[in-house]
């Protein structure tokens, strides 16, 4: 028993309407451990704690099966763009 990557993605997509979403199944297939990078407009003006609450809230059903959820990034499209650019410039340097 467990949750699939697709279930996690679809719940997050329908509830938070992310502009970018990466769900990685770290469990080796048993569906109990995920890490998430999520970029959403809705995070604007929210503290990190609130953002994580929103993600946890969106996954409230799935969390019953998930043992370990790691929210690697929860950022706004603006922040995401900045981070991508700074990574790119670091890679170029």
């Amino acid at each position: 028993m467990g949750v699939t990557k697709e279930q996690v993605e679809s719940s997050l997509t329908s509830k938070l309407n992310p502009s970018h979403l990466e769900v990685i199944d770290d469990s080796g297939g048993c569906g109990a451990k995920f890490s998430i990078v999520i970029v959403a407009e809705q995070f604007e003006g929210k503290r990190l704690l609130e953002r994580h609450r929103m993600v946890n809230g969106a996954l409230v059903e799935e969390m019953k099966e998930i043992h370990a959820l790691s929210i690697t990034k929860a950022v706004t499209p603006e922040q995401w763009k900045q981070q991508q650019e700074s990574e790119k410039s670091q890679a170029a340097a």
Binding site: L48, L49, H52, A68, S70, K73
Partner: protein
Amino acid sequence: MKKSGLSHKLETNEISGSFPKESGVYAVYDSNGDLQFIGISRNIAASVVSHKNSVPQLCSSVKVGVVDEPDRTALTESWKSWMEEHIAASGKVPPGNEPGNSTWVRQPPKKKADLRLTPGRHVQLTVPLEDLIDRLVKENKVVAFIKGSRSAPQCGFSQRVVALLESEGVDYESIDVLDEEHNSGLRETLKNYSNWPTFPQIFVKGELVGGCDILTSMYEKGELTSLFKS
């Protein structure tokens, strides 16, 4: 032997960035320019900062020598040659290196005991558990609810949080949410209290800061120090 003659002036708050994080040997001088201590470190920058914090009056400037292939022998050899050089020049051992002087040697931090909500399972709480949690997080500046004890955390996330708190030198209280004997019912009650589904949970001044991900991310952005200082 490699010995850099660079002498960095210690500046408050800025020292961490200006010293190498590598292994090596370092010498600390007081404001009169007298050598106080020669030390070996696996992370020179961290050692210098901790000296600066514990004995600021004796730390005025520091000379560092990074050891390129820092096995134990190379480090010890390097340290010995600095000591010998100083003894040859001044005729004495640096005061901090004299036997019995514990000014510079990091005392093993005393591990606090984990807090317990009750003395045992048989004891009935006279107040609702929720009230107890509320008091606990408000009366203690930093409280970490973790899985396992602080000396032996039972999950990777709790372990990481304990390591972060320790590396920041935070004086915190810890509570083992898996301890059903003393903290029976805490897990479920705390999830409701904080409206947060997972552990660890870190509270500062009565407010949930978050779990492992949030602490890690604040650490990476350099926000942790100010969080615990304020």
